[in-house]
Amino acid sequence: MDYNFHWRPVFRKIPELLEAGLLTLEVAVISMILGITIGLGLALLRMKGPTPLRQIATTWVEIARNTPALFQLFFFGFGLGAFGLHLSPYLIVLAGLTFNNAGYLAENFRGGFLAVPDTQIRAARSLGMTAAQTYIRIIIPQVLRIVYHPMTNQMVWAVLMSSLGMLVGFRELSGETQFFASKTYRIFEYFAVTAIIYYVIVKIILLASNFAARRLFRY
């Protein structure tokens, strides 16, 4: 083995990498918030929406689940260019992740709604609660518990997926790493450090999620 590892220049860039890691987290979190909101809407449309809206929701979900995330990102990258729409790298990644999150979460939510028995609705309505009260106080809290774990997984997935940003010129953690690596040719060293940063980010998310779950769901 005649390769000499050079770690020092890489270590010196760790602050920059961590800052890029914050950008990764930011785009993942925003795409999750948007994804949860849209996903909930898609799930409700698929269950109760009028036919045309239901078909749109179904199409969204199936494309998100049955094509590569990179394809979805490319679509928001070059695909929209066909219509003269050019998004910034940040928006390409945000739109791509949101599209994907919403599609996957919609299926989780739908499963969650189906898992809460109809008899819960009857019981709540028999007490005089309105349909809205029944959803907000009785159904959604139970659905949230059912989808909590899949939602955590999707958050992890969003962090991992955001690394595709480097292929559309977005300087989140991976993009920043590639930028430094291509300047110094210390590709292995840079990506090794970045791999560890991703690992730590993922573990922190899982720990935080477990901690929150213990406080949120005591039953």
Binding site: R65, N66, L70, F71, M166, I187, A195, K203
Partner: protein
């Protein structure tokens, strides 16, 4: 657009062939990785289930790392690591290597869940009939577990086909990279992306619906 420059040319029939070949490469690297990864994953999953802490501390930790780092980072990392230790690996070999381990990490989880789904009481019943450990695995755990994990395994296989798109980062000419090149040349992003997307969709959608059906008919 045609009179703007000769550099850009319109989308042609030969381009479809080019995309088709690339789609074939996507399928090829996926099938290789799914096969190797499944074989490894079954072994890893069984070890994780059979041994309490040793396998968990070794195999478990490594596989967990593969699930916690973006695939694209793993690909770049290994592609640049192999020359360091003196292995000559092209994009296909390096890509298939990483995808296989990635697949194994996902399959191991599925398999462990499958063995656990068979449940202690049933295994005890099998042993009480005088079956050996291996007979129990072969005649009880395998058929029942297979049923329990098959739909999830289809899910893993489909996600590997989709994730194989990332091998493009090593320069491997699979479907999405071919699309990207064509887009640069023809400036027809929408049609080309639609073709690529349709290929993945046509592969993934029927299979995922099929496994969903199987799962529903088996659980009810």
């Amino acid at each position: 657009m045609s009179n703007s420059a000769s550099f850009f040319t319109d989308f042609q029939a030969t381009d479809l062939l080019f995309l088709g070949e690339a789609a074939g490469r996507t399928l090829g690297i996926s099938l290789v990785s799914i096969s190797i990864g499944t074989a490894l994953g079954i072994f890893f999953g069984w070890s994780l289930q059979a041994s309490k802490w040793f396998a968990q501390a070794t195999i478990g930790t490594v596989l967990d790392a593969f699930r916690s780092v973006p695939l694209i980072i793993q690909l770049i990392l290994f592609y640049n690591f192999f020359p360091i230790i003196g292995w000559k690996m092209g994009p296909f070999a390096a890509g298939a290597f990483v995808l296989s381990i990635y697949t194994a990490a996902l399959v191991a989880n599925v398999v462990r869940g499958g063995i656990e789904a068979v449940g202690e009481p049933m295994r005890r019943a099998a042993r009480s009939l005088g079956m050996s450990y291996w007979q129990d695995l072969r005649y009880v755990v395998w058929p029942i577990g297979l049923r329990a994990v098959f739909p999830s395994w289809v899910g893993v296989a489909l996600s590997v086909i989709k994730d194989s798109a990332l091998v493009s980062v090593l320069g491997y000419m699979e479907l999405l990279r071919a699309s990207q090149i064509l887009i640069t040349r023809t400036q027809e992003p929408f049609i080309i992306l639609a073709c690529a997307g349709a290929f993945y969709f046509a592969l993934s959608y029927p299979l995922s619906k099929y496994s969903q059906k199987l799962e529903e008919s088996w659980t009810s």
